[in-house]
């Protein structure tokens, strides 16, 4: 809304003017100044709303006794500008006008109506509701909440069958052992990972673990010798992980991951439920600590990935994973010596909802 520091010329009516007289004046003028005699006198807001409702396209200026705290009321009722009283400080006017990021009431030419925003991105609203209701709940309850048949979500689990994967898969086995579990068989895994995938699947009774492989044609074209990771690790991840995953997950609107806040700084603000790009992402273990994970694995006597004992706390493909030294973070062994911290499957489609 425009802040006018000079007295404006034009037809000037008190907000106490009867509605029909204001409407008549509007018909005859392409600009109207409505003068508030007291800031408590809210008739001016309704007069502006009536004129705008009738389709008046002229300029509406508020004048007289109005407070900066009424800036957004004026704007949303249809005023274009306010005539400031002499010497008034425009700073609070600007500040108060922008206090609210959205509104429950429609206003002409305004797209910040809460209803509309809610339903343009229904997953965001669902994620927010689930976070509010279940954000503090135990991981298993949180899974049950999102897998409630009433929500009609089509969900799949993404698992690396890595060092901590057994926790999420164990929870899945308790809630819905038939849920599809997507394992990216990149062709570059440690043989221990492949053995562990078989062992854990059998032990937990998971009935729908899917090995997702890169498309052979794409692979032979982009990485015929299987050493793309040396020259272009991002491209390697794209072809062996990101693209196959996108194909495997087509048709699913909900993805369940084992990501946790403590794993790296990019994940520090991770919410249990996130929405982006038409997909709901569920991170039941978001708030878990390393100790909690360790305790769970031990208490439930879950089989460990064979490489953990050898100093690999985070395990990906063999070329890009190394053991970490004491004092390093768990994921420091991933793409060590590079800027890279994520393979990409958790970045685009799975970016946290704003």
């Amino acid at each position: 809304m425009q802040l006018l520091e000079q007295v404006q010329d034009g037809v000037r009516l008190s907000v106490s003017t009867p509605e029909e007289d204001v409407r008549a004046a509007a018909t005859a003028n392409d600009s109207l100044i409505l003068e508030f005699e007291a800031f408590r006198d809210g008739r001016g807001f309704s007069l502006a709303a009536v004129l705008r409702g009738l389709g008046y396209r002229g300029r509406l200026i508020a004048a007289g006794k109005v407070l900066p705290d009424q800036a957004r009321h004026l704007r949303r009722c249809g005023f274009d500008a306010v005539e400031l009283s002499p010497g008034a400080d425009p700073a609070p006017w600007r500040r108060m006008d922008q206090v609210f990021s959205a509104a429950y009431q429609p206003a002409s030419g305004d797209d910040r109506l809460v209803w509309r925003q809610r339903h343009t991105n229904p997953d965001a609203a669902l994620a927010a509701r689930l976070n509010a209701q279940w954000g503090q709940a135990a991981a298993e309850d949180l899974l049950r909440a999102v897998l409630d048949p009433a929500l009609e979500r089509k969900a799949a689990v993404i698992s690396s069958f890595g060092a901590e994967a057994a926790v999420l898969l164990h929870l899945i086995s308790r809630v819905r052992p038939d849920l599809p579990v997507v394992f990216l068989e990149t062709g570059q895994h440690f043989f221990q990972t492949l053995a562990y995938r078989r062992e854990l699947t059998e032990r937990l009774g998971l009935t729908d673990v899917r090995d997702i492989k890169p498309e052979a044609a794409a692979l032979s074209k982009a990485d015929p010798r299987g050493d793309l990771w040396r020259s272009a690790p991002d491209a390697c991840c794209t072809i062996r992980k990101v693209q196959p995953l996108a194909q495997a997950l087509a048709g699913f609107d909900t993805r369940i991951t084992g990501r946790k806040r403590y794993q790296n700084s990019h994940r520090a603000a991770l919410e249990p439920f996130e929405a982006a790009d038409g997909v709901l992402t569920v991170n039941p273990l978001a708030a878990w600590s390393a100790d909690q994970t360790e305790t769970w694995l031990r208490d439930h006597q879950l089989p460990r990935h064979p490489l953990v004992e050898q100093g690999y706390p985070s395990i990906g493909c063999w070329p890009c994973t190394r053991a970490v030294e004491t004092g390093e973070n768990a994921r420091d062994g991933r793409w060590a010596g590079q800027e890279k911290t994520e393979c990409g499957i958790h970045e685009r489609a799975l970016a946290p909802a704003c």
Binding site: F39, G42, F45, A49, L67, V99, F100, P106, A132
Partner: protein, 555 residues
């Protein structure tokens, strides 16, 4: 119950930032007290006799265990360890400092609470039936509609500077348990001709100096058009309501002045020119909000509980409590327990922080984490298994919350009066306490049956004395407290204003006079006739005689 999504949460946070800015500008002198006052009022902040008062909204009276615990925290941390529930189902804190208010509001925002529009000349907290979602006679649960109206009315750009305050109540049953006809707008859910949800709309009710019972303006406004219709009513009122005299500024005066038919014409004219498509509630939004109010996961129980029946047989005190404070639930095997905030000789509506914690714990264990605040200034645990009622009662009893008097004569509705309120002419609480002691005998109470006594400390009528079966109004006679008594008021679907029986009485004569009126009722009632029905049958005269009997003899 409803939970905030990111938008609701953001708005409440932004409102706190706005209010903090206003507090800072008031402190620096950039805002005068005259300018600041309406802004703080719209955030529930009054300046009362002894301190600021913060009125926290409990939208349509629904409150979770977590929220109740947070209210206890606020009472302990920023106040003197208690709060006061009002007839608009809000809670008031009497002693917060201005500088603490942003912190208090932040603490509340964390549990999805706020104080927005609990005062000021704007649309106030929407109220409803305390037994919404519980009562068997309900056509439809009114709470989703309350939430829709709550959101639509929150920080409304057009209706934040009305001529005067504006109160809306919604009920979903033919039985009116929310006094809708005493509201500026009262809404009653009905079935429209197409079988869809519609609203019977009443307008122009209100209490205060010039009380009015609302009149019907529309028999069945379709649910989809509710917000457009409300907008038309508010717009007509905002443009035409009086602003020259605060006592004549409510919509009731406008409706009475031009007549309901002329006002209806005005509303329909506004309805016809406003852009209704913008205000039509999208189906998916209605469905989204309704989803929050699906019944909790009730157990499949038989209609009776042997353990409950046995406890009633063995313990007469418990049996009495269940007769007065347990209400039927539409789900077999469950009941709704009324938590009395009316201990004998206590302050009506007051609750200590420790008691709030007790109620929160009981709700968490026995009532799906849910508490309701009632029009009568009590609390309700809405979904208690019959077999758990005894355990609930025992704990309430230890905490002083199990007075067996719901809807009985000592279940007195009273405003804070001159002990706290800067508008009051006389004290309300001491009169309520004297009456409570006078009528304390449990057997007598039960014999009297349902009697509603309301006490207001001034003509603003926050104690709703006009619609009490017996009403007491404090007046100032040359610096002395006197009390005027009315008989025959009623807030329900047969809403009526009480009749003033005669000259006002000094404080010490009020309780004995009312006790005599109730004795007279016992003498003249027909079998099974309720107090209010006896008044309706015989008029105020027999009670007038009883009230002035001794005082006349003495004079």
């Amino acid at each position: 119950m409803y939970r905030y999504d990111e938008f609701d949460a953001a708005l409440v946070r932004e409102r706190i930032a706005e209010f903090s800015d206003q507090v800072d500008r008031r402190s620096s002198g950039a805002l005068t007290e005259d300018e600041f006052k309406p802004l703080r009022l719209m955030n529930g902040v009054y300046l009362q006799l002894h301190a600021y008062m913060l009125r926290v909204a409990v939208p349509y009276g629904v409150i979770s265990s977590r929220q109740m615990r947070r209210l206890a925290h606020v009472a302990r941390t920023y106040d003197k360890g208690y709060g006061h529930f009002t007839t608009r189902t809000n809670i008031q804190f009497n002693w917060p400092a201005l500088q603490d208010l942003p912190a208090i509001l932040s603490d509340l925002a964390e549990v999805e609470m706020h104080a927005i529009q609990t005062s000021g000349n704007c649309i106030r907290n929407v109220t409803t039936d305390v037994f919404a979602g519980v009562a068997a006679d309900e056509i439809e649960d009114p709470r989703p509609w309350c939430e829709i109206v709550r959101q639509w009315s929150t920080i409304h750009p057009e209706f934040s500077f009305l001529p005067r305050k504006f109160k809306i109540a919604i009920v979903g049953a033919p039985k009116d348990r929310a006094a809708v006809r005493t509201h500026d707008v009262g809404l009653q859910i009905v079935r429209g001709e197409d079988g869809q949800t519609a609203f019977r709309v009443f307008v122009g009710g209100g209490q205060g100096r010039l009380p009015h019972i609302a009149q019907e303006i529309a028999p069945a406004v379709p649910g989809q058009s509710l917000l457009a219709y409300l907008t038309a009513i508010l717009r007509a009122y905002n443009l035409l309501g009086r602003r020259d005299n605060i006592h004549k500024a409510r919509i009731k005066i406008l409706v009475a002045a031009i007549g309901i038919d002329a006002f209806r014409d005005e509303v329909e004219r506004q309805f016809a020119i406003l852009r209704q498509e913008d205000l039509r509630i999208p189906d998916e939004e209605l469905a989204r909000i309704q989803a929050y109010f699906t019944p909790p996961p009730f157990a499949d129980l038989p209609a009776t509980s042997p353990a409950y029946d046995a406890a009633r047989r063995l313990n007469p005190e418990f049996a009495r409590f269940t007769r007065s404070n347990l209400r039927e639930h539409k789900q077999a095997g469950y009941g709704a327990v009324i938590v009395s905030l009316k201990p004998i000789g206590g302050v009506p509506g007051d609750i200590t922080a420790a008691q709030m914690d007790v109620v929160a714990d009981l709700a968490a264990r026995f009532s799906f984490h849910e508490v309701r605040a009632s029009y009568e200034q009590n609390l309700v645990l809405p979904h208690v298994r019959l077999e758990d009622v005894h355990a609930v009662w025992s704990r309430l009893r230890e905490a002083g919350l199990a007075t067996a008097n719901a809807d009985l004569a000592t279940d007195i509705i009273a405003c804070p009066g001159l002990d706290y309120c800067s508008l009051a002419n006389a004290r309300s609480i001491p009169v309520a306490q004297a009456l409570s002691h006078q009528l304390a005998d449990a057997a007598l109470l039960e014999k009297l049956g349902p009697v509603r006594i309301n006490i207001s400390g001034c003509i603003n009528a926050c104690g709703h004395h006009h619609v009490g079966h017996i009403g007491v109004l404090g007046v100032d006679r040359k610096g002395e407290e006197y009390y005027q008594i009315t008989v025959g008021g009623s807030p329900d679907e047969q809403a009526a204003l009480g009749e003033i029986v005669g000259r006002s009485l000094p404080a010490e004569e009020v309780a004995p006079a009312i006790a005599r009126a109730l004795d007279r009722y016992l003498e003249i009632r027909n079998d099974g006739e309720l107090f209010i029905d006896t008044v309706r049958r015989l008029g105020a005269d027999p009670f007038r005689t009883a009230i002035y009997e001794l005082t006349d003899a003495a004079a």
